[in-house]
């Protein structure tokens, strides 16, 4: 079983001064699996996300991707290894068109017809066909989020990390994002860090609950919702 | 001792000038993230003020008092008329202040001519320091520069305005939220920086050739003072000046002066590579 793990963390720890932001976190993701990490604000989700994508170094513990340690890897090498990320704040290239945003998201050589075909396919997937020549800076907030997901997917990643992908979205947009993520799962594993319950419910996947830096419960979302401990520490107060 | 002491004092002469020039530049950069390419020309303005005042029979000390005020006034006018509109565009500021620098240099040359201006040192005697004869003016100059630096340090550390300034350097948004008038802080800090450079110009003038283009040499060096030392702190400026001025003076004894200057700048580039936020990070 362990041989097919895509991403695995072992006993990750991170402190900021006296605050324990990530406390002994061990999670694992298999290929084409969708998992969510939920928790209240300040539960340590974003710190964990930053460690997973290499923006922060853990104090102790390890992160392995396909059995290889990610320690010391440069930012651009993560994407080449097959890990794509979508940050919380939409960060598309505002002065490029939607199409150019997607085109620059592939590194390395590719023939023109291949590139055009992949851009067309992605525009369809993220529902931005009509906007291809618009400057990305002119898109609506939800569209920017989708474009960024599309950009992350252009390099055919094995793993997609999403940080609060539905932050600031309307209910309708949230539902469409959940559908989009379901569609993705045929090609890549997805780890979403979320605050918004309706999105996680719509995804209905295996879920970790973080509280004060530690994973306190994990399981299917339907079970999580019924869990008393989770209700007490998180859902009850949310 | 007889060779080391003059070497040390010569180094101190350059270091003290660079401190004064670098401080203004560092404060402006630390505060506003603005690189003022016309900063060197305030040295020129100081030196020309000295020449003008002396030509009307005024004394060196009167010039040392008036020139910083002239520099600060011109700085204030420039900040209000041009720079305040460019705080969000660092490269645009570089271009605009470079344009200003060209205009100031050429105007000075058109008005005063291309020949070097006459300035007179207030003290022409030498004194004996530990058995070595050394020009008294240089010693006075070093002392004045150190006094001005100490005053600037106390001003930044002890006054209300200094506190406001440090708050803006730490966190501009927070400073705004705390009700600090950042625009006012910028304008005053810019004027003070310009005034300090003009003071440096007066002190420097008797030791150098006073021409309209004299600022450019000090501009490049004082940038390295700021980069090497770390922007936005007095100790950083002192460390940076000691590095740039000290190394250059020492190299001067071994290799031609122009090459020494070039080599110092190369060294500074290497320092930046390994300590991107300077020797004394703010």
């Amino acid at each position: 079983m362990s041989a097919v793990l895509l991403l695995e963390t072992r006993q990750l720890n991170k402190r900021f001064g006296g605050v324990v932001a990530v406390d002994d976190v061990s999670i694992s993701i298999r290929p084409l699996e969708v998992k969510c990490i939920i928790g209240a604000n300040g539960a340590g989700k974003s710190t964990l996300f930053n460690i997973l994508c290499g923006a922060l170094a853990a104090d102790s513990g390890s992160v392995n991707f396909e059995g290889r340690s990610l320690a010391g890897m440069k930012l651009h090498e993560f994407s080449r290894a097959g890990i794509a990320r979508k940050f919380q704040v939409p960060s598309v290239f505002e002065s490029l068109s939607v199409q150019q945003n997607l085109e620059t998201s592939i590194h390395g050589a590719i023939s023109k017809p291949d590139l055009a075909a992949r851009v067309d396919a992605m525009l369809n997937k993220v529902d931005l066909v009509g906007m291809r020549n618009q400057l990305a800076g002119n898109l609506a907030h939800g569209q920017k989020q989708w474009l960024e997901i599309g950009m992350a997917l252009m390099s055919d990643p094995k793993l997609l990390l999403l940080d609060e992908p539905t932050a600031g979205m309307t209910l309708d947009e949230t539902q469409r994002t959940a559908d989009l993520v379901h569609g993705l799962a045929r090609h890549a594993a997805v780890v979403a860090i979320e605050h918004d319950m309706s999105f996680v419910r719509a995804l209905g996947c295996h879920t970790y609950v973080m509280h004060q830096g530690a994973i306190i419960v994990e399981g299917d979302f339907v079970d999580i919702e019924r869990n008393d401990l989770v209700r007490d520490v998180y859902l009850g107060r949310a | 001792m007889t060779t080391i002491l003059p070497m040390f004092l010569n180094a101190m002469t350059l270091v003290s000038i660079l401190m004064l020039v670098g401080l203004g530049l560092a404060v402006i950069y630390g505060l506003m993230g603005v690189i003022n390419m016309s900063h060197g020309d305030f040295i020129t303005i100081g030196a020309f003020s000295l020449a003008l005042i002396q030509s009307f029979g005024g004394s060196f000390w009167l010039a040392l008092l008036l020139a910083p005020l002239i520099g600060a006034l011109i700085g204030f006018l420039i900040e209000r008329s041009i720079i305040q509109f460019l705080y969000k565009r660092p490269l645009a500021t570089i271009m605009a202040t470079w344009g200003l620098s060209l205009i100031m240099q050429q105007s000075l040359q058109l008005i005063f001519g291309a020949a070097p201006q006459r300035v007179y040192s207030p003290i022409t005697t030498s004194v004996e320091v530990l058995g070595v004869n050394y020009p008294a003016y240089r010693l006075v100059m070093i002392a004045m520069a150190i006094a001005i630096m100490v005053a600037a340090y106390l001003f930044i550390r002890k006054t209300r305005f200094g506190l406001d300034m440090r708050t803006v350097i730490q966190n501009p948004e927070m400073a705004d939220a705390l009700g600090i008038d950042t625009k006012r802080v910028f304008a005053i800090a810019f004027s003070i920086g310009a005034g300090l450079a003009a003071a440096a110009g007066v002190l420097l003038a008797p030791l150098t050739v006073v021409i309209a283009q004299m600022g450019i040499n000090y501009l490049a060096r004082s940038f390295f003072v700021v980069i090497v030392g770390g922007a936005g702190s007095v100790p950083g400026v002192v460390a940076g000046s000691a590095f740039v001025g000290g190394t250059e003076t020492l190299l001067n004894y071994a290799i031609p002066a122009t090459l020494a200057q070039a080599l110092v700048l190369v060294l500074a580039i290497i320092v930046v590579r390994f300590r991107p936020s300077g020797l004394v990070p703010g």
Partner: protein
């Protein structure tokens, strides 16, 4: 809704098509110019086109990636001095010495750019810091030229740089004045068109993305430091080509092909021509140098004042170049049918 996106796309494309056709027309005029104007004007055009290469190099760097170099004359000068020293100081036969000089000048500049660029770019130096370090580089290079006067000729400069030679029926013959003119024109046209072609597709968008948000570009798997280093070295090579050809065309190299004024003018050329348009800066170089001649003929002292003014105007009045500003004014007058008017 679907109308709007296609509009913005086509107006950008039609704008660049206007610029390109305007440029080609202009270049054609430059080609035939020596048949109608005097020798002096022709040599002025030739030199201006070579300074235009320096502007093109700077535009590749500043226009495409947003990194401003304040010392680009260093690379022009390295090309010029490299070519002059190699072709005059080693007693080589000018028929191949001139070509070796050209090659050597470019390689020399390439080496400087690589070393400086590596230290700065991989050291994480960006933005304003990068600009002032390159300014210092410009100051250094003048010092170096003056210090090593036995090789560089110091203030007097180096004389007698041979023109390029081409094989003819009578063996290798140096180019005539007119031949040099056309050789320079052809080279500048070819390099400019080549750069335009290179930057028109995905590569240009990639560079733009680095300017927009470098971290994001890294996150997408682009080794942005490497890309920036390649652009920096490439921009130096283009400037050095201009410098080396300048040395062999004029026959003399002095400190005015390496000093800060030239670096400064390079920025003006790009700012006026329109950052990132590649053709624009080459055009602007010729226009500005012509303007310089006109102004200096009134009084030599006036030109630096004009340059200072142009800098401030470039910042406040035409941040995207003169053409773009003119176009904006034009579409204000004719809001319905002007390009981009519908969007």
């Amino acid at each position: 809704m679907s109308q709007i996106p296609s509009d913005t796309g086509s107006s950008t494309r039609s704008r660049s098509r206007v610029l390109v056709s305007l440029s080609l027309l202009f270049l054609l005029a430059m080609y035939i110019a020596p048949l109608y104007v005097g020798v002096y004007s022709a040599s002025l055009f030739r030199d201006a086109m070579l300074f235009g290469l320096m502007a093109l190099g700077l535009d590749y760097l500043w226009g495409k990636t947003g990194v401003l170099s304040f010392g680009h004359a260093t690379f022009f000068g390295a090309g010029a001095y490299g070519a002059a020293i190699i072709s005059t100081q080693f007693g080589m036969d000018p028929s191949y010495g001139a070509w070796l000089g050209l090659l050597g000048g470019i390689l020399f500049s390439c080496l400087i750019a690589f070393i400086v660029g590596y230290f700065l770019i991989f050291g994480g130096v960006r933005g304003s810091y990068f600009t002032i370090v390159t300014l210092a580089l410009g100051v250094i290079s003048v010092h170096v030229v003056l210090t090593f006067s036995e090789y560089t000729g110091g203030d007097a400069g180096l004389l007698g740089v041979p023109p390029l030679s081409f094989p003819t029926v009578d063996g290798f013959r140096p180019l005539s004045q007119l031949g040099q003119y056309w050789f320079v024109m052809t080279t500048v046209c070819a390099v400019t068109c080549g750069m335009w072609w290179l930057c028109s597709g995905r590569y240009g968008a990639l560079l733009k993305s680095i300017e927009d948000n470098e971290q994001r570009a890294q996150a997408l798997g682009h080794n942005t430091s490497l890309h920036l280093l390649i652009v920096f070295v490439g921009s130096a090579v283009i400037a050095a080509l201009g410098g080396a050809l300048y040395a062999s065309s004029v026959g003399v190299v002095a400190t005015d092909s390496v000093n800060l004024i030239l670096s400064t003018q390079a920025i003006i050329f790009v700012a006026i021509g329109g950052r990132g348009t590649l053709f624009g800066p080459v055009l602007a170089t010729v226009c500005v140098i012509w303007l310089e001649q006109e102004v200096s003929s009134i009084n030599v002292q006036l030109w630096p004042l004009f340059m200072g003014l142009l800098f401030i105007l470039a910042v406040f009045v035409f941040p995207d170049g003169v053409l773009k500003r003119a176009e904006a004014l034009f579409s204000m007058i004719r809001p319905v049918s002007g390009p981009g008017g519908r969007a």
